[in-house]
Symmetry: C2
């Protein structure tokens, strides 16, 4: 998506070999106009998959999920909650998400009734790198017998394996921008989204 | 705001004397159509205050801040991040927020450059009870010499002191619904918002 790519190149910062810092417009301060344009781009890609629910995980995925859900005709949004502890109850479903960045295992959790059996779920998230968060959300859907009809990502780190693994598994993935590599603090994007 | 009040009465649950459970449409699953109508209601209330930035705190405030910012012409949204630890750096500003619910002290934090001196800030949050979160955000604004031009709340607990204290201090507060009390699991609303 051209507007997002422009913004990444103009304002984003590459740190080290794998950190893409975009908190000036995406995940701390939000450029609201760009956000809603991103929502439209995901809606265009996934409308034909007829999702009936948008799923994300707190916190930074929420704004993007809301924008996508709005563009798709105000679908409900459900956001999984993060916590450090596993607490099994009959009312909630949970999955483990390992963070390579922080080297910690987190739990994401949803109340079962908000992810009903048979739902057609569009997963939205800000980043896709190792795919741990998306895999955790897909795991929640699988446990609930809900169907993942698409995965919409703002920025995919193309040099990490998550995106390719999802595509190889036949998942409909759309990343609005793909970072090919970081060179001397400069973010290099792939010519096309995905 | 009529639509929100209806929804609270139809689907919300009162627990004990002070818990208002609305996670079926507001802060776990989100009713997106209602969310954007709430954004319009805040925009109508605060447009004349000419905010240039919407401030909230992760996680459940984000969706509401985005809806309000969109209705106000796509203002930028900044969300404070929560953490357990105080880390003083020259780049961030932070404030303590005591949670009466969890009996814990949290820190909320923003990168200074995203809350510039002289900004006209509209604070948006899902709940107002003791006022701790709003006071923490006002504290961040004060440290940054930004001006709080309004505080928009989805649900105020009228039986707790936060809202009254803000109004007594001359702050322009708009709560879209005010809970007067909880009686035998039933949520009783005040006839008007505020």
């Amino acid at each position: 998506m051209e507007a997002l790519k422009q913004k990444i190149l103009e304002e984003g910062k590459g740190i080290g070999k794998d950190i893409v810092k975009v908190d000036m417009f995406l995940n701390h301060r939000i450029d609201t106009k760009l956000l809603f344009a991103m929502g439209e781009a995901w809606a265009e890609e996934f409308r034909d998959e007829k999702p009936d629910l948008v799923l994300t995980v707190e916190a930074s995925g929420i704004a993007m999920a809301v924008a996508a859900a709005h563009a798709l005709g105000d679908l409900p949004v459900v956001f999984a909650k993060k916590s450090n502890t596993a607490v099994l109850t009959s009312e909630t479903v949970q999955a483990g998400v390992y963070s390579f960045t922080h080297k910690t295992q987190n739990i994401i959790r949803i109340e079962r009734r908000y992810l009903p059996e048979g739902s057609r779920v569009l997963i939205i998230d800000d980043f896709l790198a190792d795919g741990q968060a998306v895999n955790g959300m897909m795991n929640l859907c699988e446990q609930q017998k809900a169907q993942v009809v698409g995965v919409g990502i703002a920025i995919e780190k193309g040099f990490q394996p998550g995106g390719q693994q999802l595509r190889d598994a036949g998942v409909h993935v759309k990343s609005l921008a793909i970072v090919d590599r970081i060179e001397n603090g400069k973010i290099v994007l792939r010519p096309d989204g995905d």
